[in-house]
Symmetry: C2
């Protein structure tokens, strides 16, 4: 039995923690904020509250970092500052170069590092198909923790950075194409040719696009940072970062839909007009 620690469990993190309990591992959580939502998620996931990050770090064999991209370094710092010596799994949507930077800090502090990237939504049921990609020499050990659980795992390679790279190139299309379609509709609306564009697209593609664009607005605020990470990944590989800096821009213009998502395409285009 392994003790797994989860700092600040969000919607995704709590489901990953819950999957960790599947094989009778002990999964701890600790959160400075302790909002009701965090507590409810932790309870749903059968996570054990250990009261402080210091306790969590001292008791955990494995710590999973699952947080918004901008917070990845801070989570690693919290863990290092508490003197952690176990395996740190960096599971966030960050550029491989940033994963390397965090890996260097973690290993310099005497802990071990596994790179990770999650593709899909929260992993409460196996049917959700959520994949936890892992890389690094200790990746197989982490994958084994979730054997048979609702969270599917796959070891990409023994190299730090591969799991992050995979997450980046996958999200580059799903979220990048949504950003592109959102911007196209906004430009078409501004130019007074949206109805013509939609007629040329045809009913099926138009309806699918409206659903995709409006359905994305609740999450747009937190995709901005991820788009910047993808942009950095592309630039790091020698290609233009323009697609995803543009995607970050359009998502940032939709940030006010965080709590009250758009229910129609017209609402999205009003916001962008």
């Amino acid at each position: 039995m392994t003790t797994i620690g989860l700092i600040h469990p969000g919607a995704m993190g709590a489901s990953v923690g819950a999957a960790g309990t599947h094989n009778q591992h002990r999964v701890l959580w600790a959160d400075a904020d302790r909002s009701n939502e965090t507590r409810e998620r932790a309870t749903r996931g059968k996570l054990e509250d250990c009261n402080s990050v210091a306790n969590l770090v001292s008791e955990s064999d494995v710590i999973l970092s699952v947080c918004p991209p901008h917070a990845a370094e801070d989570v690693a710092s919290e863990v290092i500052d508490c003197g952690y010596k176990g395996i740190f799994v960096e599971g966030n949507a960050i550029a491989p170069a940033r994963s390397h930077v965090i890996a260097d800090r973690i290993t310099a502090a005497g802990a071990r590092f596994v790179d990770g990237g999650i593709i899909g939504g929260p992993a409460w049921q196996a049917e959700a198909g959520t994949m936890f990609y892992l890389s690094g020499v200790d990746a197989p050990e982490i994958a084994a923790l979730f054997d048979g659980s609702p969270l599917h795992t796959s070891v990409v390679s023994d190299q730090i950075g591969s799991a992050s790279a995979l997450k980046m190139v996958f999200a580059a299309y799903t979220k990048g194409s949504t950003a592109l379609l959102t911007t196209i509709l906004a430009v078409a609306e501004k130019q007074g040719v949206r109805a013509n564009l939609e007629q040329q697209w045809g009913e099926a593609f138009t309806q699918k696009t409206h659903k995709q664009v409006a359905g994305n607005t609740a999450k747009a605020w937190r995709f901005t940072g991820e788009m910047e990470e993808i942009a950095a990944t592309f630039a790091g590989a020698g290609f233009s970062d323009g697609f995803h800096l543009a995607a970050a821009d359009i998502f940032s213009r939709l940030k006010d839909f965080k709590d009250t998502p758009a229910t129609s395409i017209d609402q999205v285009l009003d916001e962008l007009s």
Copy 2:
């Protein structure tokens, strides 16, 4: 019967000219270069060679400009310099603001101006579904020339710029998403995670994407200018030009496939490595 002039008929232009002959209009062509390919296309389209641009301009009631985006101003200049007073149809993939600039020059010279944008491939058969979108006060007159021909027409509005805007927002997705997918595969290859990405995508999406990316390479060289026009269209509407400047960049890296298109995805990725 109307006399229609077509300068430098390319693959698309010749088919548009051929559609013009459907209603027994006389369609003239003239080309300084007179390559064998141009001559063959003109012959196929039943276009009448009038030997010089000066003759074409003096005999035509309507002149159709159908050329690569970078050449649009030059074609308009040639026509203006020959003292043209008929209707000039700007049918190219250019930003609406550029169409306005050309319109101002054409009308200042005493001719009339119709904005246009072609969506689809060459219009040799009606089944190809090629659409010639037109806008401006004289647009219905131009549309009527092609009644019942293999080239479908649609009047977008009486405003200069709408037809160009429609062409831009439509191509923004078809070509923009191809550019994005091409770049994603190149980054994935560089990061050593292409096989993993394709497994996550699944067989159907991967095969479709390979076909789309490799099938685009023959045309990539001439899409660079069009991507820059779309970028200008987005910027002009107050949105980021990043998507399509990035698209222009990746297409420019594929320019050497002009005469010998890639036959496999591996060939495309070799070129980009």
